[in-house]
Amino acid sequence: GAGVSQSPSNKVTEKGKDVELRCDPISGHTALYWYRQRLGQGLEFLIYFQGNSAPDKSGLPSDRFSAERTGESVSTLTIQRTQQEDSAVYLCASSLAGGLYEQYFGPGTRLTVT
């Protein structure tokens, strides 16, 4: 079916506002990842969801970041009180069942905090 989709593709927000980023994984994929990629930098792991297991939140950069996933479907990454250093491309990936399977990436959400 369709690949991983993310929305919005671009988001410009003012410092201090909250933003919500959405990821729709490939149907049937139980694993879902969120990464942050600053301009010209590598991929920074944020959080990983596997099935109905509670995620390890220690990769989230601060308590302003939170993420949820409903079952094995859509996931949202919420950033509260955005700061300029949050500006980056946020990438979502899904895989069939975790770290031993290839990850399929969505196109990303480019977040700009002004």
Binding site: G42, L43, E102
Partner: protein
């Protein structure tokens, strides 16, 4: 915990070969390789699951030495389309986090 890649950047002429290395200070249980072109999302190349395993994908192959906690990606007879940034990646020992390497920028010129 982030794997370290070398070199950081490499420029090749079409037809030349290259090797990209990925080293980890932690035990590696599997190694992924991805390529990311400018302005695009990363694309999967291959995954290696066992120590000493080698895999191939067209003219791109990789090896994984579990004991040395290293993996290498081999690009032979490089093509212009090989240009991009290459990342290795691995999950941590809990399986709850996934780390990509520092990245290697590869540019193939005519």
């Amino acid at each position: 915990q982030q794997p370290v890649q070398s070199p950081q950047a490499v420029i090749l002429r079409e037809g030349e070969d290259a090797v990209i290395n990925c080293s980890s200070s932690k035990a590696l249980y599997s190694v992924h390789w991805y390529r990311q072109k400018h302005g695009e999302a990363p694309v999967f190349l291959m995954i290696l699951l066992k120590g000493g395993e080698q895999k191939g994908h067209d003219k791109i192959s990789a090896s994984f030495n579990e004991k040395k906690q290293q993996s290498s990606l081999y690009l032979t007879a490089s093509q212009l389309s090989y240009s991009g940034t290459y990342f290795c990646g691995t999950e941590d020992n809990t399986g709850n986090q996934f780390y990509f390497g520092t990245g290697t920028s590869l540019t193939v010129i005519p």
